[in-house]
Symmetry: C2
Subunit: 470 residues, 2 copies
Amino acid sequence: MPDVEGLKRSLAGIRIEDNPAIVKQKSRDFFWYSPVLKRQLEHVTGDLVVSPTSEDEVVRVLAEAYAHEVPVTVRGAGTGNYGQAMPLSGGLILSLAELRGVGAIGNGTVTADAGAIMSEIDQVTIADSRQELRLHPSTYRSATIGGFIAGGSGGVGSIRWGGLRDLGNIVSARVVTLESTPRVLDLTGDDLAKVAHAYGTNGVITRVEVPLAPAYDWVDVLLGFDRFMDAARFANALGAEDGILLKELGVIAAPVPHDYFLRHQRYVRRDQSMVVIMVARQALSALMTLVGRDSRASVLFRSDRAGEDERRGLPPAYELAWNHTTLRGLRVDPSITYLQTLYPYPHQLERLEKVTAILGDEVPGHLEFVRFDGNVTCFGLPIVRYTTEERLEEIIRIHEDNGCPVFNPHRYTLEEGGMKQSDPVQLAFKREADPKGLLNPGKMIAWEEPDYDFGADKVYLFRGLQALEA
Amino acid sequence: MPDVEGLKRSLAGIRIEDNPAIVKQKSRDFFWYSPVLKRQLEHVTGDLVVSPTSEDEVVRVLAEAYAHEVPVTVRGAGTGNYGQAMPLSGGLILSLAELRGVGAIGNGTVTADAGAIMSEIDQVTIADSRQELRLHPSTYRSATIGGFIAGGSGGVGSIRWGGLRDLGNIVSARVVTLESTPRVLDLTGDDLAKVAHAYGTNGVITRVEVPLAPAYDWVDVLLGFDRFMDAARFANALGAEDGILLKELGVIAAPVPHDYFLRHQRYVRRDQSMVVIMVARQALSALMTLVGRDSRASVLFRSDRAGEDERRGLPPAYELAWNHTTLRGLRVDPSITYLQTLYPYPHQLERLEKVTAILGDEVPGHLEFVRFDGNVTCFGLPIVRYTTEERLEEIIRIHEDNGCPVFNPHRYTLEEGGMKQSDPVQLAFKREADPKGLLNPGKMIAWEEPDYDFGADKVYLFRGLQALEA
């Protein structure tokens, strides 16, 4: 049985928060993008938030959690959309926000503590040597590097570098286990797959080394097209331009840009779909050459042409893209939700066209172009005008039936939100690193229910959550 | 009629060389890689070499050449393999080697005079801001940036950035026309296609702006495989790793590495094929992870593990690759030659395997992996154990019949060495910029013989060269 009070007493000298209102607030991530997760997780909360300020304190916290058998859910900034940081069994929220040091900066790498905010890492590395992180989520200005690696998969920069799952996009990770005497492990190479995108279910990442890219002067360019598929075709062609250095390439179907990008509303007609681009200044002329060849493209906005006041009044392009597209939509219309899909190369355009024809304005398209296994293709984060869970399931099925895999953001488990199969590497590491199963309970089906049948077309419901709901 | 003597007199104050032995030496490029071009061009020479030291002098030279109707062949370092710089009608060799200034360095760009040697540009940009050229030929230590853009297509760096034909890999070019009053034009965007890879047939490039990439600590890694196709498959998979930053990725079939890479001979068995890699130090661990997964790969050499003396005794990896592979072969066995082919995505491995099975050790394989239209595939620069021109033609036909286009390095014309069709953009610009047809005569069939039939399966022979041979 968890002994929360005993744990609390044992952590004297470490910052603890146990005011239930604050704990509940610090127990939440962005699960509420999903009406399904909202229903399931709305009442989830931890018992206390612990904020260590050093790796030694992390080790101490984990040793005591083991001794007192209290569940531990690790948290960065809580910007995940899959309920990654939701403490399904209550217990201890291990906030790493105070572990925010930026360490050694090399020619092409940086070491940072897990709780370092990504934009703040960049401030340091840019000042040091005009370098910046390769990849970041649209929540760049609040998300932590550790949270991104534990719970994210890619984002801005993926058009150049692929995703976090790709070898080379993480150099090393330092991980503390949850054992009687926690071990501190430095993982590299294939071992990184044990903890990357494992939601903190099998170890606590305290520090990472990641590669850096050059920090160029990125120009935001927004293009308008009268037809979504023309915008998609343009972006698809632009993505294949090996010499044009981009950091972001997204496409958002009308009327989303006009209706939801309120501060950009004056630049875009309601019937225009938008291509969102971040291009290195030295490639701007090449990009404009390509734009000039396409009579259907019109330039809506260029940050290099905007006045300083104008630019200051606008969010950066990356805050129109990835999960921020949906976030802006939710602010205007809280009834919407979204999906995450992949349009596999080389069939991305035809499958997109098919799905778009079937679903129309019920599911306005949103594409994010990326390098994926060496090719350029696109993920989808389409807006869904939500009605019922049944219809949402139907919409997912329509995507899958048309060859577009769905990474379901309406599921809180690693397996259901990801590849729909268990990850034996992550499971094996959990057996080593978390023998009592205290880390982020309920997120890894393979651990909770080893015989679970992923083919059975049902939704997994964590026992702990059943108890909580009951 | 050309008035060479009159021209010479008109150029007082500009550096001129007219000693026939020196002029002949400065009239030659690396055409002798090809036994066909060797037979055709061995006796080709200009009448004088002029070496302007400023753009003003270039303008003066071109105005006088126009007035005296003397052909002008522009020359950088003369490292081309297609006879790009061979003055088929004699006349003036315009050496730009003295135009070697490196100008403004920006965040991601540099401006350089056409005659600047590429490794010397990098010395300046690395010292300034740890930046370097995106692309360079294996003749990096002697080739000029202007010559590369006028006569080259890609090389080291193409695995990351594609080729010179790709938008964004040249920012701008300054070009002087050969007219009564030469114009100085700054070309950007689509206009760059007028002069890039035009062999100086329609203008004299005097200065370029090109993008820069970050100058990382590149580690040379040489891998050995018992079977060429296993090496090719490994490289093909490595090229698709979006997170592993490479600058070079080549594959060379046994026994070429052992027989021709004399200073590397002790590292490689005669029956081993070699993968040649330049990898950024921060990606080395990721690369080694991938190597560790392939039981057929053995590490022959790593520059980061070699002692300083050992490294000093070896050429850099890029001087084993691209045209240097053949160059090293020619030093050992002057009877060989080579081809240039493309293995089109996504069929590169199967077509390679087919051609390799047919030709065996008569044509030992040499692949250079590149990004091409957004995908990763490979060019071929296979060694050819040369016997006759007829057999060479057969070998070319075997490649073409098996879906591997050949960029024939045994032809001195733009069309036959390239896409086997005329380039209307370059032709139209020649009409404007070189109305008398004095620039590098004989290299653009579209100009010399507008009705030439490229489908007729015959070899073009320039009239001027016929005269010269007669």
